[in-house]
Amino acid sequence: MSILVDENTKVVVQGITGREGTFHTQQMKVYGTAIVAGVTPGKGGATVEGIPVLNRVKDAVDGYGANASCIFVPPAFASDATLESAEAGIKVIVCITEGIPTLDMIKTVRFLKKCGAVLIGPNTPGIISPGKTKVGIMPGYVHKPGGIGVISRSGTLTYEVVDQLTKAGFGQSTCIGLGGDPIVGTSFIDHLRWFGQDPETTGVVIIGEIGGTAEEEAADYIAREFNKPVVAFIAGQTAPPGRRMGHAGAIISGGKGKAQDKIKALESHGIEVVLNLGQLGKTALQVFKNS
């Protein structure tokens, strides 16, 4: 099994006629994702990769049964696109866009919670249930179907981790990029809860980084309620305070968000933390094999 997306997921791509939108639509199609429609306001009637382009998300839901969306529109319009999806009844919204203002996202996330929609991102590589569907921009071929859930705040770093897992013999049930921004739609805890209920997920890898306190909160949750084995990695042990390390959300500010504090919180709850990324595959082998 998997969480949130699977072979029944029908995707509408918002911003399908843009360069990124078109390229990744083609990539997703090659992976086997069911893309039922694209949306670019004003370009309704066109086709991209044989997929119909519509003017409104609501038409993709009503006419084509779309139940997930993947957003590639520029930052200034991404909040609007996200809200349109939620209002149209889409329940899993993946926002790839990087560079959305924080205050826009505070308002957007607040509205989405009311709609009961799940937002993955923004500033995310997306979500993939290997062998079933990928809604995002990750390289599909490094993944393999299996029992490990992966939750990450990063992009390329996640591909590296997944590659190590696959090479160590562990396929993945679902891999999620939470997004690299300070305000994102879902937390480690949301996905841990879903992975906890998924019988085929046997263990979880969480990949955190400096900034915020999401990893500390995850550590508390795991200690309290999560019964499957967890391996964690935190990027940024050598990051200086007060500097934004690429991701808008990767910043140590006001003494909060240090890698050391996160590692300590996880370890104090008995969670295995890999300090050297090169050893993640080996550690996963030890932790997951015995379970």
Binding site: I100, R110, T213, T238, P240, P241
Partner: protein, 367 residues
């Protein structure tokens, strides 16, 4: 209150500001200036000149500038005021609760992180619903926790300052605004003695007036060049140059370098989907850092293909001579094509099989 900004040493600067006493403050884009010796109280013109000369003569080091400090180009000269009370007032984004939060404290003048670590009860917090804005009851929640309670007139003014500060936070897409200290003078006046504002980089496209305030002098020279190339580059204090695709992976590689016993000279993320040109520019920036003694390139080809990276490296090597050992680790999409391109070039480099080996190899070069 009267004050005057001056650049460099100007003997007459204080004439227009009432006093003595005066306060001389270094103007740099970093906090912790008082502790670093960048804020001085002076009682005579002679003292003022001495203080100004001293502050301007060397880089100011605070906990926010890094060990090499920041060059001081401008001073602020203020009237010295008789202080009755010092408050802290600030607004940040609470990432966990996903809302703006206003912080108020009667322990102003100190760093708020310290107050909140040692006396959390002295830092009052009101979370703000972004659809409602900052409400009067929230100001009252702050006021009635104060001991002693200030006069009604002061409270009315404080309340207005809070509302305006929140308006500013929203209107200008701030990620932090703080007034510290916000003082109450003995004559009953509220004065913002120092303030700091951070802006959300993601929102600068709609804040053109803020973009104009950008001062390249306050940036590291290489960082300024990198930002022109749209590269995520941060200069650090070590001697191992690193080029990586993806921010999370770049941080992880810095950590691996450190674990191998060396120190990274920089953070450089050429982007998950970097182009040949970005790779070339990135390598040029690393090579112009004189402290760099060895370079590690780690690319996990996903969206970015390894052959693109390899072509970028070869191109950069043609334009700038690579004068330090280069270690390359490639993995992912088109890895064999990438390795072949590097091999067929006349570049002198070593290939690492995995990132641990790469870090070990690069650490050996700088030992």
């Amino acid at each position: 209150m009267q004050k005057d900004f001056v650049s460099g040493l100007q003997p007459d600067a204080a004439k227009s500001v009432p006093g003595p006493p005066w306060v001389v403050k270094a103007q740099i884009h970093a906090g912790g200036r008082g502790k670093g010796g960048g804020v001085r109280l002076v009682k005579t013109v002679k003292e003022l000149e001495d203080a100004a000369r001293d502050i301007l003569s060397h880089p100011l080091v605070t906990h926010q500038t890094g060990p090499s400090g920041q060059k001081v180009r401008q001073l602020l000269i203020e009237e010295g005021l008789a202080i009755d009370r010092e408050f802290y007032l600030g607004i940040v984004v609470d990432r966990k609760l996903e809302c703006p939060a206003m912080l108020f404290s009667q322990a102003g003048g100190m760093e708020i992180e310290e107050v909140s670590a040692q006396h959390p009860e002295l830092v009052l917090i009101e979370n703000i619903d972004i659809t409602q804005g900052f409400m009067p009851y929230q100001a009252r929640n702050f006021f009635y926790a104060l001991d002693p309670l200030p006069d009604r007139g002061v409270l009315t003014e404080l309340s207005a300052i809070m509302s305006k500060l929140y308006e500013l936070f929203i209107a200008k897409d701030c990620s932090l605004v703080e007034i510290n200290p916000l003082i109450l003078t003995k004559s009953g006046m509220l004065v913002a003695l120092d303030a700091k504002i951070n802006f959300d980089d993601n929102a600068l496209y709609r804040q053109s007036d803020i973009v104009q305030l950008h001062d390249a002098n306050e940036m590291d020279e290489l960082e300024a060049r990198a930002s022109e190339y749209k590269l995520n580059y941060i200069r650090l204090d070590g001697n191992v140059g690193a080029m990586v695709n993806g921010a999370g992976l770049a941080m992880a590689i810095m950590d691996v370098i450190k674990l191998a016993g060396a120190e990274p000279a920089n953070f450089l993320d050429v982007g998950g989907g970097a182009s040949e040109e970005m790779v070339t520019n990135g390598l040029k920036i690393i090579l112009s850092d004189k402290r760099v003694k060895a370079i590690l390139i780690n690319i996990f080809g996903g969206i970015m293909r390894c052959d693109v990276l390899a072509r970028g490296v070869v191109k950069a090597a043609k334009e700038v001579k690579i004068h330090v050992p280069l270690i390359v680790r490639l993995e992912g999409t088109n890895v064999n094509e990438g390795r072949a391109i590097l091999k067929e070039s006349d570049l002198d480099f070593s290939v690492a099989q995995d990132m641990e080996e790469a870090a070990r190899m690069v650490a050996e070069q700088v030992r």
